[in-house]
C-alpha cells in the first residue's frame, strides 16, 4: 500500500498542465465553486429520481423522471474534472488523507449501486407508469444512492480536517495527522 501511494503521488505529481492555473489567484477558488455546483446538480437531479424510486411523487412515471438523470451525470462529470484538478495539484493532500480514502470507497460503492440498478432493476421499473410503487429491490437501490452520495459529500467536506502535514517539529493541526 505504501509503495502504491508513493507511486500515485509521483505519477499524479508529474502532471503539470493544470498547475499554473490551479496555483493562480482564482484557479482553485473557481474550481471549488464549480465542484459545489456539480455536487448540487448531482444531488438535485439524481436525488429527485431516487426519491421517486423510494416512493415520493408516485404520480410521476419512472421513465419520465429518468430524463433528469443526464443533468445529474453532467454534475458528476464537472466534479470528476474539477476533482482531478485538485488531485494532480496537491496529490499528497489526498493520497495520505483518510477522509479521501472513505470518499473514494463511497464513490466506488455508489458506482456499483448504479451498475446494479441498470443491470437488474431499470428494465423493469422504466415501464412503471403513473401511481405505481417501485418494487422493494429498486426502492432499496434508491435509498442506498441517497445515503452513498450524501456520504461522498460528508467525506469530501471532512478532507480539510484530516489533511496530512509534514509536522516539521510543529504540533499536529486541527484533527490532522503527520505525514511520516
Amino acid at each position: 500500500m505504501h509503495e502504491f501511494q508513493a507511486w500515485l503521488w509521483s505519477t499524479l505529481g508529474s502532471i503539470h498542465i493544470v498547475r499554473p492555473f490551479m496555483t493562480s489567484a482564482w484557479g482553485w477558488p473557481i474550481c471549488e465553486s464549480l465542484h459545489f455546483v456539480g455536487l448540487s446538480m448531482l444531488i438535485g437531479c439524481v436525488g429527485t429520481f431516487d426519491l421517486r424510486l423510494v416512493g415520493m411523487a408516485k404520480r410521476v412515471p419512472i421513465a419520465a423522471m429518468h430524463r433528469l438523470i443526464p443533468w445529474g451525470i453532467a454534475g458528476y462529470v464537472i466534479n470528476v474534472i474539477t476533482g482531478s484538478m485538485f488531485l494532480v495539484t496537491t496529490p499528497d493532500q489526498y493520497i495520505y488523507n483518510p477522509s479521501f480514502h472513505f470518499k473514494i470507497l463511497f464513490m466506488i460503492i455508489a458506482g456499483i449501486n448504479v451498475a446494479v440498478f441498470y443491470l437488474a432493476a431499470f428494465g423493469q421499473v422504466k415501464t412503471l407508469g403513473s401511481g405505481v410503487q417501485a418494487p422493494l429491490f429498486a426502492r432499496v437501490i434508491g435509498g442506498a444512492s441517497l445515503f452513498l452520495w450524501t456520504g461522498v459529500i460528508v467525506f469530501g467536506r471532512m478532507l480539510t480536517f484530516y489533511r496530512p502535514n509534514p509536522c516539521n517539529g510543529e504540533p499536529e493541526g486541527f484533527l490532522s495527522v503527520c505525514l511520516k
Binding site: 459545489f36 455536487l39 448540487s40 437531479c45 436525488g47 429527485t48 410521476v60 429518468h66 471532512m158 484533527l175
Partner: protein
C-alpha cells in the same frame, strides 16, 4: 465600530465551541450539514427549474410540489447551520462584502421560489403544457441565483480579510 459586538459574540461559549472544539461532530459536522442542505435546496430547485424550462417534459409538473418539503428542509438546515457558523466566525463573514452578496443571492433565490410557487404551481392545468414565459423567466433567474449563492459562499473561504476580532 462593530468591534465591541464582535468581541462580545466571539467570547460567548457557543462561538468558542464552534472555533475550538476538536471533536469531529463539532465544526466539521456543521460544515457537512451546511453542504448537504445546499445540495438539496439548490439541487432540487435546479431539478424543478429544469422541468419548468422543458427538461423531462413528461413529468407532471404539479408532482414537484411533493419535493417542496425536502427542499425547504434543506433550506432550514442551512439557515440554522449557517447561523451557527456565523456565531463562530462573525468577524470573518460580516467584514467581507462577499458574505452580503451571498445573502442577496439567497434572498433572490427564495423570492424566485415563491414566485414560481405562485405563478406556475397555482395553475393546475399546467401539468403537461409548456409553462408560460413568466414562469420560465423565474426558473432561469432561480438557477442563476442559486449558482451565484454557491459561488459567493465558496469564495468566502478565499476573500476574507480578518478572521476574528478577539
Amino acid at each position: 465600530m462593530l468591534d465591541p459586538f464582535f468581541i462580545w459574540l466571539e467570547t460567548t461559549a457557543l462561538s468558542v465551541w464552534v472555533r475550538e472544539a476538536t471533536e469531529v461532530y463539532a465544526f466539521p459536522s456543521i460544515l457537512s450539514l451546511h453542504t448537504i442542505g445546499m445540495g438539496f435546496v439548490a439541487g432540487m430547485s435546479a431539478a424543478m427549474n429544469l422541468r419548468i424550462l422543458g427538461v423531462a417534459a413528461f413529468v407532471p409538473l404539479m408532482e414537484f410540489k411533493r419535493f417542496f418539503p425536502v427542499l425547504w428542509a434543506g433550506f432550514w438546515l442551512n439557515a440554522v447551520s449557517g447561523v451557527v457558523l456565523l456565531i463562530g466566525y462573525p468577524t470573518k463573514a460580516l467584514t467581507n462584502p462577499m458574505f452580503y452578496l451571498k445573502l442577496v443571492f439567497i434572498g433572490l433565490g427564495i423570492l424566485c421560489l415563491r414566485s414560481i410557487r405562485k405563478s406556475v404551481f397555482s395553475d393546475e392545468d399546467l401539468d403537461f403544457q409548456a409553462v408560460p414565459r413568466r414562469g420560465r423567466l423565474w426558473a432561469g433567474a432561480s438557477l442563476a441565483c442559486w449558482t451565484g449563492a454557491i459561488f459567493a459562499g465558496r469564495l468566502l473561504a478565499y476573500t476574507y480579510s480578518k478572521l476574528t476580532t478577539i
